[in-house]
Amino acid sequence: MSKSFRKEFPMWIGLVSGVIVIVDYFFNISILSTLSKEIVQWRNIVAAFALALGVGNLTRIHSHAISQKKEYWFFSILLLVTMYGYLALGLITTSKSAPYRFFWDNMFQPLSGTWYSMTVFYMTSACWRAFRIRTPQAAVMLGAAVLAMLGQVGIGQIMWSQLPAIKNWLQGPFTTAGMRGITIGASLGMISMSFRVILGLERSHLGGVGE
């Protein structure tokens, strides 16, 4: 099949699907509505298939690392054993079984939660090393940050009773104003980018895999 067919055909599939969903939003046509609902359901099922891509990619990368005896190749064995072991456990016994839940509650959940909690130490590091008042804008930003930080906790209220009100004012009208402008601008950008994707003007997602 020609190179252009390999790019055009997927684009046409996408165009037809996308147009059906959009037209259904604006017009109340029974057959279109049914078709649109089916297309949305199908999209979710395809997205669920995509979740398994991670298994394939990790297997490819780490089996290569093991075969080449790259640095930390032993840990690659650990990763693959963990992944396939837990996968087998889940597929055979389902995610509701006691053994599956044991590993989820006592390994996955604490590891994942602890990983994200490490960001507090990076924040400590940033507060000590990175947040410098170099420009007037930085001064205003840090001033607002300090007022908001103290105003949202009890110690701030003890230091100055007006701090919570100031924090509410900063996190209310000012944040609404700043972020609403960004939200409106971003929504226009999202709408135009979405149209570009549907109409096939944006094709970066169609490249990179075979020609």
Partner: protein, 212 residues
């Protein structure tokens, strides 16, 4: 030792293994890092499979909705990306997923993100709060929408009173955004500290039983 206590100890050791990185990188930290990646990927796949089985495979097998064979085929086509000769076929489901998501985004954005936000800004200015919201929103939009006019020179015809008004408005918008980002940073600190407190509550509460 009962299973609950064993589980708590496993969780505690996992937690402390991650925190050992704060002292310096070590083999235990690296091991749990790789274990976490394996567990996460496996869990996602298990839940994805259950999703696909419930909504697509089971209806096809029982004959209640044979049409579901279409998304099953599309989903399987995703895996052709690993084939040397047929990897282009995976573009079909990718294009399908992205365009349907784009269409859903458009239909949701027009009303919720755009029209109602604009409507919420067009309010009578009765007090300082509404003044800040209206003026702040408009000047923030000016900052992003009129970059070319702000950056232009007199020689290009972008000077003059109108350009000055726009430049002034955009500058005010910038200050409004700085205050908004600063206030948001304060919230970000609460998030990060909160995550850490959660783990400390587990270690010293559920594991060591030193705090209630």
């Amino acid at each position: 030792m009962d299973i609950k206590t064993l589980g708590t100890w496993v969780a505690a050791i996992s937690t402390l293994s991650v925190y050992s990185y704060l002292y310096k990188e070590n083999a235990l930290f690296r091991a749990v890092e790789y274990i976490l990646v394996g567990l996460t990927t496996a869990h996602l796949t298990v839940m994805g499979y259950q999703n696909v089985y419930d909504v697509a495979i089971n209806p096809v097998m029982t004959g209640t909705k044979v049409l579901m064979i279409v998304p099953i085929i599309l989903g399987l086509l995703l895996y052709t990306r690993w084939s040397k000769h047929y990897s282009w076929v995976s573009r079909i489901p990718v294009s399908f997923m992205l365009t349907v998501a784009a269409a859903v985004t458009i239909t949701g954005n027009i009303d919720a993100n755009f029209m109602r936000q604009v409507r919420a800004t067009m309010v009578p200015i009765k007090n300082l709060d509404t003044l800040v919201v209206v003026v702040g929103t408009i000047t923030t939009l000016m900052y992003f929408f009129f970059m070319k006019i702000r950056g232009g020179s007199r020689a290009e015809g972008n000077g003059g009173p109108l350009a000055a008004v726009i430049a002034g408005g955009a500058e005010l918008g910038r200050w409004v955004m700085m205050i908004a980002f600063g206030a948001t940073f304060g919230s970000g600190v609460m998030s990060r500290i909160g995550l850490f407190i959660g783990r400390v509550q587990f270690l010293f509460g559920d594991w060591l039983k030193l705090i209630k």
